[in-house]
Each structure stands twice: as C-alpha cells, then as structure tokens.
Subunit: 450 residues, 2 copies
Amino acid sequence: MGRHGERIRLGAFHYISGHHVAAWRHPDAARDDRLEDYVRFARLAEEARFDAVFLADSVDVRLLHPDGAARKAHTGVTLFEPLTVLSALAAVTSRIGLIGTASTTFSDPFNLARQFASLDHISGGRAGWNLVTSNDPEAALNFGHAEPVPHARRYQRAEEFADVVRGLWDSFGDDAFPRDRESGVYVDLEKMHVLDHEGAHFRVRGPLNVPRPPQGHPVVVQAGSSEPGKELAARTAEVIFTAQQTLAEAQAFYADVKGRLVRHGRAPEHLKIMPGVFPVVGRTRAEAQAKFDQLQALLQPEVGFELLRVQLGVDLRGSDPDGPLPDLPATLASQSRQALVADLARRENLTIRQLYERIAGARGHWQLVGTAADIADQLEERFVNYGADGFNIMAPTLPGGLIDFIEGVVPELRRRDLFRTEYEGRTLRENLGLKRPENQFARSRRQAAE
Amino acid sequence: MGRHGERIRLGAFHYISGHHVAAWRHPDAARDDRLEDYVRFARLAEEARFDAVFLADSVDVRLLHPDGAARKAHTGVTLFEPLTVLSALAAVTSRIGLIGTASTTFSDPFNLARQFASLDHISGGRAGWNLVTSNDPEAALNFGHAEPVPHARRYQRAEEFADVVRGLWDSFGDDAFPRDRESGVYVDLEKMHVLDHEGAHFRVRGPLNVPRPPQGHPVVVQAGSSEPGKELAARTAEVIFTAQQTLAEAQAFYADVKGRLVRHGRAPEHLKIMPGVFPVVGRTRAEAQAKFDQLQALLQPEVGFELLRVQLGVDLRGSDPDGPLPDLPATLASQSRQALVADLARRENLTIRQLYERIAGARGHWQLVGTAADIADQLEERFVNYGADGFNIMAPTLPGGLIDFIEGVVPELRRRDLFRTEYEGRTLRENLGLKRPENQFARSRRQAAE
C-alpha cells in the first residue's frame, strides 16, 4: 500500500519543553534555555531519519495581558532566535534539515536572505526558511509600529519579500568562483547578477554577498491557510505546514493548494503538504490516554482562558467556561487560526473549557492519542488518500514525546514501507524530493538566447 | 616587567583566506566558504587561549567598480554572515569568546539584540557584538537608501541603537524564571521590564523575548576612531579594535579614550583597547621578510589601485603609481580610515605603489615583520607603555599565519609572563577582566529605594 513508492516525510517540530502548554510542568520535560537540549532533540530526529528539525518563532513576549493572573504560568515567554540555534545545530549534525521561522513583517530581506544563505552553506545544503507574516499586536510595538500591520498589507509585503529574497539567492551562478590561484581570477563577473529590485515595499540593489546556496535556494516553507496565504504558498512555497482536523478537510486543502500550482507553472510534486500532528503514544490505548490526562491535569484554568485569547483574539473571561463558545467579533488575530479553533468548537460542540483543554496540546492541530499502530493507521490513511505528503510531529513533551514517537510509530511506519530507513540525498531538498531551482538570471539569459 | 600583573589580551581576527589582500592566491591558504575552516581557526585560537575569535562583516559585495579590470581578482566579494558562523562555532568550542560585527545602520535593534542574546545563551556567555556603522555606498543601496547615510546621522542612530539593545538585554532579571513545576509559576513578572523606548530613530516597546544573557550583556566592541566614534565608545564600548602605527599615536589614542570614560562614570579598566596587528613571523628576520615578499608578489597592481579607492574613497588610476599621493578631496568614505591611510603615506613619504603595497596586508593596521622575539618586543613595548591592553591578530594567511603566531609569538609572550596559559573565567567578559553590568531596571529600583 502506498503512493507509487512515495513515502511519508517527517518534520520534528521543536517547541521549548514540548507542544502541550503545560509540558514544562511535566517531570520528564527538558528546560527551554539550554543548547544541549536542542542538540539532543536534533540528534534523536536525525538518528530516526526525519527530514528536518523545525523551529517556530515569535518576536515578542507571548501571552502578555493587562491582567497578569495567567501570565506567570506560561512558557513561551522567551524563545531563542531560530537562526542562531539552527546554525549551532548545523555544526553538530550532518544530514537532517534545519528549518527556521522568520517573519517578513519585521525583518529586512537583504539581512534575512544572507543569514539563510549562510546557514545553507554552513550546513552543506540543509537550510529551510519558514516564511511567515506577524499579526501579534505586541510584536508590532517592538518594531516602531503603533498597531498591528493589517492582514492584506502583511501579505503584499510577504509576496514582495519572497521575490527579493529568492532573487538575492541567485546573485551568483553556481560556478561563479573559479578561485584560480595561478591566473589570479577569483570571481567570474559574468556570473554575478544585480537584482535591482524596486517595488512598493522594498528597494534592494544586490548582489547578495554570499555565494549561491548549495541547494540553489534554501527550502521555502509556509504555514498560511488564508486565501492570500494559499496564493503566496502556491507561487513560492515548497513545503506547507498546515493544520486540518479531518480527512475530508485535509483532502480539500490538499487538492485546493496543489490545484493552484499549475497556474504558476509548477507541478504538484513541487510542493509538499505536511500538517502538524500532536501524537500521544502509549503501549496500550489506556496508557496513551493516561499520559494525555496527566498533561491535561497540569493545565491551569487561567492558562486555558489566556490560550483562547491568543488563538481567537478575543478575551472570553467572564463567559461561563462550561457554556458554548459565543459568536466572535472580527479581530486582527490571524483569521485562519481563529477560524480553525472556532470551527473545532462548533463541529464537536465543545464548551469553552473543553475547547481550551482540546487545544492546549496541539493548539488547533491534529491530535492523536493511541498505540503506535493506531497512530500509524491514521497517518497512513491521510497519506495514501492524498490528505498529506508528510507530517510535522509536535511531541507533547520533549524529549520524551519525541522518543515515544520514534520508538513506537517510526518502526510501525517502516514495517509498512511508509518511511525511509536511510537518507536518500545529501541536502534537505533532495530528501524532500524537491527539485533544485534554476538560477533566475541564468534562465533569463538562456531564454533570451533561445 | 608588566603592568601590575595585568596581561595582554588577544583576539583572533578571522578574514577569509587571510588578511593580506592576495592571501587567497597563497598555496597554503584555506578557502573562504567552508565551515570546517572556520572551525579549525577557532579551535586553534582556543587551544592557544586567545580571548576571542573576531569576525568582520560587510553588507554588500565589496570592491565593486564600474571598470571591472580589478574586480575579478578580489576576495572579500562574499562573506558568510557572522552570527550564523559564530553560532556554529559556539557548538564546537567551549571557552573562546565569539565576537561578530553587525551594523547599526542597516539592522533592526530588536532582531539584533535577540540574536546576540541567543548567541550568548547558546555559547554559555561567550558572545561579543562589534557595533559598527556602515558607510559603503553600495551597502546603502541594498537597504532602500538612494545614497549613503551621512556620518553624523549614522552616529546618532548608533547611539540610540546601542541604548535600545542594552535596554532590551535587561528585559528580565537574572533570576526572573523560577520555573517551579509544583506551583506552576514559570516566570516572576516583577522581574520582567518593559523598555518603552521612544527616540528620534526607534520606537521599541519590549520586553525582549529572550532571558537576560549569561554575561548580563554580550561584550560591546567598537572600532570607530573619529570624534563621534570615540565618544560613542567611551559611553558604551568595552573593547575597542583600533589601528595605530606608532607608539606615540597609540599612547595618544589610549589616553584620549580612557580619559573620556570618567565623564560617563566609568573606570579605565572598563574598556580594553586592542589595536589590530598584522604579524609576519619567521625563524629569522630574513625568513619573515621572504614570507612577506612572497605575498606581496601575489598582489596584482589593479587590485592595489582598487584597494586605495576603497580605503580613501578616491579613484587614483591615471596618477603616476611611482609619484606621491595627491591631495585628497573630502568624500563620504570613513573619515578616520581615509586619514589613517593618507597620514601613513605622508609620514613615510610613500609613492602610490608603495602605499598600496604597504596596506595590502594590514590595511592601515600595524604591520610587524620579524622573528617571534622581535614581534613580542614590539607588543610588549606597546603594552607596558599603555599604548594597548591587547591586540587583535590579523594573520597574513589562514590558517598558516595564525599557526606561525601561536607557535612562535605566544610562547615568547608566556616566557615574559605577558600572556595566560589557562583561561581565568568561564565567560568572555570574565576572561577580558570586564565587570558584569547591573540590570538597568534593577538599578533604578534599587536607587529609588535608597
């Protein structure tokens, strides 16, 4: 059973002590401020032949609120910056991909293009950029804005940002540096390209002062599920980390996004769709449920309300926690995230309390509690029915939850010939089965000559 | 002989294949695009107990010129981004400091504060930030500017930038994270501080979403020798990398900058002055000279003219290479750099050719060609006579030139009890003998309570 020899791709999504909001209180969970814990995580994932480590990011202290009641109980207050962490991991791993989140809303395209190009060189072609826009009101205040950047403007900027960055990565041909000691020719200037970008948001001349990355371009990853998010992804993304609860939703999203690729001259295999999965693995179903219950018991109610405020953009304190979710006003919160969480409540008829308990782990992502075979069944079903090309594993606790997945679910997937036993390629791009992009300037010249 | 038990500090300045412009053509020089060469360099320097590795930076393709004659022969066209390289080095070294250059002209203070704070955590307190302003006309074009940012404005921005970054590093008290699993208290909000900065260049609310760095603040390094540069350094820098040719000049600079500290409530030992040194070490003077001659012979004349154009901001092609340096017009080039190079030509009565040959190695820094004892004599003289607190070693070729220094000059300095045999502290700050800064918010509260 399978998809013509295709196999599942796996990302290992690192998040502080684990993805469950209360994970930091779990006795086995790692702290969140030591490089050694990141290194252990990356090495575990590499030994298991995951495609990549994935780091989320934010550019503000999350979960701030004028009423401090819940704040003191939150992790996610601080987070090391992904490019620095991934660069450190590059030096102590050799095969696993290194995907980091960086915002187009509050970064500069030249600096960002350069850092990801450097990471790609340092890692020998293992870098990936998770291109996001930032909607957090607190983040805007850290970058000179009086209020959040509106959704449409964020996506216009992101579109242009992606073009600038990809253009800068093509500043040199792959063979632009003869470094010929005898003749004294270091660089072949015919193979240096000036971008000369002028747009609504950016004016960037180039060239980038880093050679073309080993992968041509670091792999571009996106997560947006809104309409402009899907359009941006169809044009520029090579991996989508997304969140769908049901097979039908996943299939609809998969078909929608893959269908958009043609308009941009791309084939369906040029974009891999990898939803987030929050797996709680037990030797029995009862053990899995007990593990999950133990984590839920660590969740403090005020943290639950705060979590909903962040996901929905609405403060629900004062509402009856055992009543239904009220109608929500339009907010500046991420529209796709609000819809995802609100739809979950309505579909499953959840009270406010049940809703926050439900999203405390997977935060709107797909949650699977069961044996390794149960979870492999679910992943297989979604994969073979074209609901996903792979999954981004959001372990409930770290490193314990990842080890559970690696020791239980990975061998089960291998028995079904659904996951690799050895890396196929040297680069992240090769392992994901993505083509190496042609240099846009070389392409223009080639086309002009034809 | 010495300075009351004080010893010389040493930085290992990494620059592609070496600091001599023609180093890349030398048969022993490393390439400039492989992490392994950076790792080897850092480990050599760490084994020799250098205080820090130092990485320069630029944010454009250097040495561009409308006439391409010289360009193809240049290294320095590309350069990995320092924060990514240093983060990788953090994972494979354990004691040496990691100092990286980042521009205040074209970076954002929140992102930069966060990356250096992350590097400080990842490295266990070994990060240093070389705070620079950027005057390159080509760099400005990569960041939306139509022309270079004027000198005065760059320094006003740098002043404010430094205040924002240092304020953000103080966003949390050193003990702000009890992470008490039992009670569920993760963060002590009394120890979280909102910067709320509003100035002429930046509006940044904070807090930074990284815990306070292990060093309190990464060590702040500067290089400016202009009047506003010296003032900025006297207020904010803890190390100055500078360039003086003669003992008298070095003493004047040393006294000038140290004298300014008092006005800012600082003691002379709070700032270490470490001029760049370009050492060519031989077992005999003749061997040292032969090594240097071998490098000079690799220097192509068109590269020499191009080098002068970059250093002086003036294109001298057409002038007689064997004639004197003409009077120079005021330019937008770094005023201190232009003065440094022009003064050298006039003091030593150099022709244009002699000048470019002279700066091809040290690029205006102090150049020493001789035996290990000769070079140690010079360093000792400058150190004991308060012309320097240490030196930033700019090896002619890498790694060969650094190995020559480590095998020859370092033991000679140790014989004179002028250099350590073991690290004194765990952090860069401790090894440099710098105090750990008090948190500015904690200080304000303490002072208010007194």
